[in-house]
């Protein structure tokens, strides 16, 4: 009981010094990375307000020598197709989110709370479909959508998306953790199955429903390939594909393109700002690490 180290005295000073150094280094690294991460945003905004004459001159400006909001004005006021796109995207995302929340919570409730034979097999099949990457299916799905006459319709975007297993997976996990006793107490109190779903399960699941909803919303908002394939009419476009066509149609000016990008990303940035914690926690729920 006597093997105290004799190096105690030297090491203590070092111990606290290196602690401080370590923290300084940490700040440098983390803020440095943040700066790197930020560059693209800054570049986007900077270009969007730089007049064409400076852009075509080339050369590099940290801050543009002259600033113009002509393009912002043009998109926001004179050519508001971007509003139409934003509205379309909002519509698609909202409906998708709504359907996912309702339909997925129903089946998750059914699987976790109601006893019927084969439900574990059904769950197994749904979970296995997790492995199927969305794009593998595009060709047959496309012929299906075509056969159903849904090309150029929002349902073509909404329905296949709502068939995805993510929501079922998350909600099943969550519903499983709602104490069974709550439901049993409710049954003793005379709740029917529907009432348990609407008055117990749903209110108790608001956190996960919000998180899932946000996530589905953002995913749906950001869909690119599929809407590109099934939508034909630029008045029906979503923001993400609209923005790309702006680029190939109006072609040139980087300031024009960057303004449209900034406009296209704005709505989700605001959503993210408002719901940062919820969104991040939903990411974590997906990974089962939250």
């Amino acid at each position: 009981m006597s093997n105290t180290d004799t190096t105690v005295d030297e090491s203590q000073a070092e111990y606290f010094d290196s602690e401080r150094l370590y923290r300084i280094g940490l700040y440098v690294v983390m803020y440095g990375l943040a700066a790197l991460f930020f560059i693209p945003y800054w570049r986007m905004f900077q270009l969007s307000v730089t007049p064409m004459k400076f852009i075509s001159q080339g050369g590099f400006h940290l801050v543009p020598p002259e600033i113009t909001f002509a393009i912002w004005k043009r998109y926001l006021i004179e050519e508001p197709i971007i509003y139409q796109w934003a509205f379309n995207t909002l519509l698609i995302s909202s409906i998708t989110t709504f359907i996912v929340l309702v339909v997925d919570s129903m089946i998750a409730y059914s699987i976790t709370r109601l006893e019927w034979p084969g439900r574990s097999i059904v769950l197994g099949v749904i979970m296995a479909s997790f492995m199927i990457p969305g794009y593998v299916n595009i060709i047959p799905l496309y012929t299906l959508i075509n056969d159903l006459g849904l090309i150029n319709s929002y349902w073509a975007i909404i329905l296949p998306f709502a068939a995805g297993p993510l929501g079922v997976f998350l909600l099943v996990q969550f519903f499983r953790d709602i104490p069974k006793e709550l439901e049993e107490a409710a049954r003793l109190d005379g709740f029917s199955s529907v009432r348990i779903y609407t008055h117990m399960i749903l209110p108790l699941s608001t956190p996960i429903l919000t998180a899932l909803g946000l996530f589905v919303f953002i995913w749906s908002w950001n869909q690119f390939l599929w809407p590109l394939i099934v939508l034909n009419d630029d008045a029906l476009f979503t923001l993400p594909i609209g923005v790309v066509t702006l680029r190939s149609v109006n072609a040139l000016s980087p300031n024009l393109i960057m303004t449209s990008l900034a406009l296209a990303s704005m709505p989700l940035f605001i959503v993210f700002l408002l719901f940062q914690d919820k969104l991040i926690s939903s990411v974590q729920m997906q990974a089962g690490t939250g």
Binding site: S56, D233, D234, A235, L236, V249, A251, N255
Partner: protein
């Protein structure tokens, strides 16, 4: 209605009840779209019982969407596409000779009219004839003190070398746009002047013809511009880099379309006042071949759809005639030479800056009149695809050797033709 499709529209949407409704898909953008929309609105204002419902479909997926729409029975009555794609579109479009007014049969430039016919049947009406020429930045030329003869390679290359020496601008770019299609069209111009062909043979039995010496030489020339000759850079920083360079005086000359003038506009929609340029016939390439330039027509096709009534088909053609024969706007702002002779030479067109000042439309008119333009081969395949011409961009930027590039391009093109 938004959810079930077909809802949105670029033109005034509300047709009167009882009107014949005609759907019209177009891929135009920017100025072109503006002018076309105006034409549609003008037509809709007429009290003729027809309502045109115009929708924009992005160019990149236009063909694909059109095929799908026909396939799923949702095709519009009218669709815009290139006139030389008639053979490719034939399986999904209908001929319109039965509906065509007699006036229309002689309204267009012959070359344009002929190009819309397949086996004697009319499949489309041409809106315009547009082609590629040589744009020169006059300030750069002045600075270098050159004024070459633009129909002779030696003279042209001397001038180019002088520009290279005397200014810090690059003299000449073969392409304006980093896209296979741009390379293809420029290549056709040079190849034709060299006496070569892209394809030979008859429809249904086309053979690739540029994988020979002439084709290879022309490709080599193209490759030299960014290589040995050092006239242009091997960098292509963005798709629009050449246009930006041209506008800012870093590029002296380049090959681009009549409509490319729209790309010179700044964020306020104006051509920069300090930019002075000219549009020339691009007949400076070496060789013993014909001095003709590549040309194309935006046209209106009539996709197959068993749901379309006779009345609608008639109305569709009526609109197409209107839109192709009353489109002075198409020249003034869209930058194209109208395909209808009377329109092309109308006062309104001749009074535009494009005719009087920038020379794009006037030059184009001359070339058409003088039969100095030629359409590309009309194949059954989507011949403009990057799949075939991507290698030319790679060659131009020295990512591929000329030999390999030409071979790749030729092989895949031949394969596609055979598969047809």
């Amino acid at each position: 209605s938004g959810l079930t499709g077909g809802g949105g529209s670029d033109s005034d949407n509300s047709g009167k009840s009882g009107d014949v409704n005609v759907d019209y898909w177009m891929y135009f953008g920017a100025q072109e779209k503006k002018e076309m929309t105006e034409l549609v609105n003008e037509f809709n204002k007429k009290d003729n019982g027809i309502h045109i419902n115009a929708q924009s479909v992005p160019f990149g997926s236009f063909l694909n969407k059109l095929f799908t729409a026909v396939n799923s029975g949702n095709a519009p009555h009218i669709a815009s596409y290139y006139a030389s794609y008639g053979r490719h579109l034939k399986p999904i479009t209908d001929p319109i000779d039965d509906y065509l007014s007699s006036k229309s049969k002689s309204a267009y430039f012959d070359i344009a009219r002929e190009n819309t016919k397949i086996d004697g049947n009319t499949y489309a009406l041409p809106i315009d004839v547009h082609g590629k020429g040589l744009y020169t930045n006059d300030k750069v030329l002045e600075k270098a003190g050159v004024d070459p003869d633009f129909s002779d390679w030696d003279s042209f290359s001397n001038a180019a070398n002088t520009i290279k020496k005397k200014t810090d601008a690059r003299p000449f770019s073969f392409i304006n746009w980093k896209a296979g299609q741009a390379a293809y069209r420029a290549y056709i111009i040079a190849l034709t002047q060299a006496g070569g062909n892209v394809l030979t043979g008859e429809p249904g039995d086309y053979k690739v013809a540029f994988d020979n010496e002439k084709g290879m030489q022309t490709a080599q020339l193209m490759n030299d511009i960014t290589g040995k000759l050092g006239w242009d850079s091997q960098k292509f920083q963005s798709e629009s880099a050449r246009v930006e360079d041209f506008v800012s005086g870093k590029l002296g000359m380049f090959i681009a379309g009549t409509w490319s003038i729209n790309n010179f506009e700044n964020e306020n929609g104006e051509i920069p006042s300090d930019l002075s340029f000219t549009f020339k016939k691009p007949f400076m390439f070496p060789g013993e071949g014909d001095n003709v330039a590549w040309a194309e027509s935006n046209s209106l096709y009539f996709p197959t759809n068993s749901n379309h009534t006779e009345e609608e088909k008639k109305a569709a053609v009526e609109f197409a005639e209107f839109a192709t024969q009353n489109n002075t706007l198409w020249a003034s702002a869209g930058g194209h030479l109208p395909a209808a002779k009377s329109v092309a030479t109308s006062k309104e067109v001749k009074n535009t800056k494009l005719w009087t000042e920038f020379d794009t439309i006037s030059t184009m008119y001359e070339m058409v009149k003088d039969k100095q333009v030629r359409y590309q081969p009309r194949t059954g395949i989507h011949i403009n695809s990057d799949k075939f011409w991507g290698p030319f961009i790679d060659m131009y930027l020295h990512n591929t050797s000329v030999k390999k590039g030409v071979k790749n391009s030729a092989t895949s093109l031949q394969q596609a033709l055979d598969r047809q």
